[in-house]
């Protein structure tokens, strides 16, 4: 805080110096023109912008200082801190300059500081939520504000009549009503500042916040009407004036909204044509929104309403039209401006309060006002909620009402309005100023400080921040349609019906008019979410997969950066698998050659990539268990570690393993097949992406030798009667095996280095022999399965025999590992593969349950294409071990934790 105050100390001094200079200059006209000055001090020329810049700098520095301590900011809202800072700064300025230099100028406030905040809140307003609760918001904003203004004003007047307010406060009923109108409005800046940190549930937030935005129209009207009444003198006010006052309410609010919508339309339309001048897109947004504000202000309409509507209305189209970068620019600039303005407002509020020449204290008035605004706010909320709840399907409960009453913060708007009062017309202005300052400070500081504990204490439903998932988006959409349909069936054309109609209209006309053709084409909310998720995947992929690519040659450097991947958290999995899903976004066609090439590329990448995960894994292990230097030792250790984990995971989840391993696969395989189909447009990013996907999985894959798999499968076999499931799994494990060997080939691992042919041989069977494989599939569905099952069965049994009991599994695989893996490298490998491939085809159809997935994935594809899908399927069973293994990873982690 001190640091922030330092530049300010200098400010008034510089300002004082600046004021002296001009007096000197005119005093020396007779002197000969001075020669070329080496150094000239021109403070007064830059004074104004310099001061503004300094203020902003001070505010920003203050913000940084506040946020150095997380503890403080979590307890105290920033707005409180800023006000306190302002008080301190104001005190310093006052002490140095002997007079209050700076304060919140209403002009500056309304023209420069308020618009960014309102634009920000309007633009980023969750529109769906807003319109869902529009009725409640409007009620609170209009009725609530009117109620607050009149009751507070009248009550204060009553207080004065009762003699509780000192007689030196010269004010009539109208003055008090005027004061009531300006003090009654809930302030958007204060509400936003406090509520953003409280995280109450969305509905509550949108109601309070929406109210604070929309009540501006009412406040403006009331203020203006009362002000002019006061100026006219109560004797001259006629009945028509009251009517005019009521009418102006509609004019101001609807007019403001209309201005906002017109500008929103213009803005959307303009951004449609900025394709070649992307750079001005962000500027346009700000310019037109500001123009809306100024226009409304000019026509003495509700400027806040105008900007809110502008932001609310244009967002959808603007976001669709402008480029991605512009979108980011708009977002950041808007947030920056808003937060900057907010900071300055609160700081200036604090500074302004120091200026004691402006205000006069009257305890009765201050305490009375404080009590009345709290009391009538609460009363108003309760009454309105009671009425609203008669109509609301989801009633607002008592806790909501408490928070709403308590969240009625007053702020800078009230202060600016009270400063604007004319002292000659309203003799009690100074008292009003003092009262307003106290009220603002009380609400922002006391209520702001206590609302968080209150919310916690009352157990108000908090908002959960979760990223939008594709499923939820889909479901919500379906849901909207269902609701609209049901409303139609019931015959009551309610909210959903009209929203549906609006969406139709929007789709048919507005969007076509306001959106770029290219943007309109893909404009759909679901698509949006999908797209966003994809972008996120892509980014996360670049974050992780990028390393994979760069480090295919050199294994070690990538270790630390990819530790995170080794965790194989669910989110990671999701992301990775999601990135698999997003690949098929582009085009679907199945050119075999392209796919082959891609597969080859992918395979090589996999070969290159598969080795590293072990290192990664090792790294994460080594933190706890082993030193990293000795490589051979490490390998051994990792292996043992893995075995241990595996065994641990066995104990709690014997059954589970078998299920997760076998059953999810059909699903994923089916999915992956789709991807593969779509993948033909082989972009560069794609194979690596899959690699990334594979990578997480590979954490264990490399370390697991086929022995483990066998032991594992024997386990499952023991546990489960479903031999088929086992077969399906086992085969793909065998595939893995092959892959492991392939991977080893590329990587300079200290372990066995298999000959490169393995890779090629592996590729060949299912690249060239597609037709055969397809045949397998069709025939296998009926006959071959059992046979394959038996081979798989025998294999596993042979391994099973060596294992006495599950706990003992550790020993046999360890001992048996070397011979087996050697076997795989040698000629056996190619032989193994085809034979084992067959069951992998079979399992989807043969499995009673898993068969579903197969049918579902292939049923929608025309018969002739069946070969291809199945090929894809096959192909991806080759890949699918990754998916399967990713489940393994979870298992292991879990087991490890257990």
């Amino acid at each position: 805080m001190l640091r922030a105050a330092l530049p300010l100390l200098w400010l008034p001094l510089a300002g004082a110096g600046a004021t002296e200079e001009p007096t000197q200059e005119p005093g020396s006209p007779g002197e000969p023109p001075p020669g070329l000055a080496l150094f000239r001090w021109q403070w007064h020329e830059v004074e104004a912008p310099y001061l503004v810049a300094l203020w902003i700098l001070v505010a920003s520095l203050a913000k940084i200082v506040f946020h150095l301590s997380r503890k403080v900011t979590s307890l105290v809202p920033e707005s409180c801190l800023l006000i306190l800072l302002g008080l301190v700064l104001g005190g310093i300025v006052l002490a140095v300059a002997k007079k209050a230099e700076y304060q919140l100028e209403p002009g500056t406030f309304f023209l420069f500081l308020l618009p960014p905040i309102v634009l920000d809140s309007g633009y980023f307003m969750p529109s769906r939520l807003f319109f869902d609760n529009l009725g409640a918001i409007l009620t609170y904003a209009v009725v609530g504000t009117l109620w607050n203004a009149f009751t507070t004003g009248a009550a204060l007047w009553g207080l004065q009549q009762a003699g509780l307010v000192a007689p030196r406060v010269q004010a009539g009923l109208l003055d008090f009503l005027l004061f009531g109108s300006l003090i009654s409005a809930v302030d958007p800046v204060a509400v936003l500042a406090v509520f953003e940190e409280v995280h109450v549930n969305e509905t509550l937030f949108i109601i309070v916040f929406g109210e604070s935005l929309l009540n501006d129209a009412v406040t403006v009207v009331l203020y203006k009407v009362c002000n002019s009444f006061v100026e006219m003198g109560s004797a001259n006010v006629q009945a028509t004036d009251y009517l005019k006052g009521v009418a102006s309410l509609f004019v101001v609010s609807l007019g403001g909204a209309a201005v906002g919508l017109v500008f929103a339309f213009l803005l959307a339309l303009t951004t449609r044509f900025t394709k070649r001048v992307r750079i001005i897109e962000p500027l346009l947004v700000f310019l037109l929104a500001y123009a809306a504000y100024l226009t409304a202000e000019m026509a003495s309409l509700s400027a806040i309403l105008a900007v809110t509507m502008c932001g609310l209305g244009c967002k959808k189209y603007v976001e669709a039209n402008i480029s991605h970068k512009s979108r980011t620019a708009v977002k950041y600039t808007m947030k920056t401006l808003a937060s900057c303005a907010e900071t300055i407002i609160f700081m200036l509020l604090g500074i302004s309060a120091v200026d004691s020449s402006k205000w006069a204290w009257d305890s009765g008035l201050v305490l009375g006002t404080l009590f009345f605004i709290l009391f009538f706010r609460a009363l108003g909320v309760v009454l309105q909620t009671w009425v609203l709840n008669q109509f609301r399907l989801v009633p607002l409960d008592k806790i909501d009402q408490v928070v709403m009453s308590y969240g009625g913060l007053r702020g800078a708007v009230a202060f600016a309005l009270v400063i604007l009062l004319d002292r000659t017309k309203i003799p009690a202005k100074d008292y009003f100023v003092a009262t307003t300052i106290v009220v603002v400070f009380f609400t922002v500081i006391v209520q702001g400080l206590t609302i968080k504990p209150l919310v916690k204490w009352l157990k108000v439903k908090r908002s959960e921040h979760h990223k939008p998932t594709l499923n939820q988006e889909l479901h919500e959409h379906t849901f909207d349609h269902i609701l609209a349909a049901v409303e139609d069936v019931v015959g009551h054309h309610g909210y959903h019906y009209w929203r549906d109609r609006w969406e139709q209209f929007d789709k048919k006309y507005l969007s076509q008019l306001l959106m770029r053709r290219s943007a309109y084409r893909i404009r759909d909310q679901i698509w949006d979410v999908y797209y966003r998720l994809n972008i996120r995947d892509a980014i996360s992929f670049v974050d992780q997969g990028g390393h994979v690519l760069s480090s295919t040659g050199l294994t070690l450097p990538s270790m630390p950066s990819r530790n995170s991947v080794a965790e194989t958290s669910v989110t990671n999995l999701l992301r990775e698998s999601g990135s698999g899903a997003c690949l098929d976004l582009q085009v679907i066609d199945t050119v075999r050659s392209g796919r082959d090439r891609e597969d080859a590329v992918m395979h090589h990448l996999l070969c290159g990539g598969l080795y590293k995960p072990r290192y990664r894994y090792k790294a994460s292990c080594s933190r706890h268990f082993i030193s990293e230097d000795a490589q051979e030792r490490q390998d051994k250790e990792v292996f043992q570690q893995n075995m241990k984990r595996r065994l641990e995971s066995f104990k709690p989840t014997k059954h589970n393993i078998c299920f997760t391993k076998s059953k999810p696969r059909p699903r994923k395989a089916g999915r992956k097949k789709k991807d593969g189909m779509a993948n033909t447009e082989a972009t560069n990013g794609k194979p690596p992406r899959d690699l990334g996907f594979q990578d997480t999985a590979a954490v264990i894959l490399t370390v697991e030798s086929e022995e483990e798999e066998d032991s594992d499968s024997s386990e499952t076999e023991k546990e489960d009667d479903e031999g088929i499931i086992f077969v399906a799994r086992a085969t793909s494990e065998v595939l893995q095996e092959g892959k492991v060997s392939g991977s080893l080939e590329v990587c300079p691992s200290p372990r066995i280095i298999p000959p490169s042919p393995t890779c090629a041989e592996k590729e060949l069977p299912w690249k060239s022999g597609q037709g055969d494989l397809a045949v397998y599939v069709s025939s296998e569905t009926t006959k071959i399965v059992p046979v394959d099952m038996q081979t798989g069965w025998n294999q596993s049994i042979s391994s099973l025999e060596s294992l006495a009991s599950p706990p003992c599994t550790q020993a046999p695989p360890m001992t048996r590992l070397p011979p087996r893996s050697l076997v795989t490298e040698e000629p056996q490998a190619p032989l193994n593969l085809p034979s084992d491939l067959r069951p992998s085809f079979a399992f989807p159809t043969s499995l009673a349950k898993a068969g579903r997935s197969h049918s579902e994935s292939s049923a929608d594809i025309p018969q002739q294409q069946e070969l291809q899908p199945l090929m894809g399927h096959e192909d991806h069973t080759h890949l699918s071990p990754g998916t399967a293994n990713s489940h393994w990873c979870i298992q292991f982690n879990r087991g490890g934790r257990l």
Partner: protein, 187 residues
């Protein structure tokens, strides 16, 4: 089936079953008669896949509509959860067209395709890939987080519940059933 005053017992019975008030039942019956053309049942004119009822009578109609009743404020947490589950089950069946307890990929795709059919510019394939992505996501969410013996061939009802976790369905899935005559205006 008449929900007139003479058949008040029947109405009362329906009230008990569906939770509608007698006024609402009357309104809905009027609406029902309007939709069915004064027949006792509404026939399913569209040739849908098997498994769909050919016709529904008023009681069925009411039962369906009762899923969209707003929840009672006086309900305790347990009943709300139950209500939520019921509502979700209804939704689940809308996806699960062959009602085998699973939303398979194909079923999901159909839903998504229909959902996106309003936009002519989104091709079927992209709709599909969206469905695929969603399915993938569902798989990751459900299998990943649950105890691993979750069979994943389609979204089961449990998974469905999981997916909907973040959404307060009980506060959203409702339609206003008017008690007043205004319903007639909408015909």
């Amino acid at each position: 089936m008449g929900a007139t005053h003479s058949a008040s017992e029947e109405v009362r019975e329906l009230e008990g079953k569906t939770g509608f008030s007698s006024d609402q039942i009357e309104q809905l019956h009027r609406r029902f008669k309007h939709l069915s053309g004064d027949q006792p049942t509404i026939r399913n004119l569209r040739k849908g896949p098997s498994g769909l009822a050919d016709e529904i009578n008023f009681e069925d109609f009411l039962t369906i509509m009762s899923y969209f009743r707003p929840i009672d404020t006086t309900m305790d947490e347990e009943r709300v959860q139950l209500c939520r589950k019921e509502k979700l089950r209804f939704l689940f069946h809308m996806y699960d067209s062959d009602s085998d307890g699973r939303i398979t990929l194909e079923e999901y795709r159909n839903v998504v395709e229909e959902l996106l059919s309003g936009n002519p510019h989104i091709e079927k394939e992209s709709a599909r890939s969206i469905a695929d992505g969603a399915m993938m996501e569902a798989a990751s969410v459900c299998v990943g987080r649950m105890e691993p013996d979750q069979v994943y061939e389609g979204i089961t009802f449990d998974d469905f519940l999981k997916i909907w976790q973040g959404i307060d369905i009980e506060t959203k899935m409702h339609v206003r059933f008017l008690n007043m005559e205004t319903i007639a205006l909408c015909h």
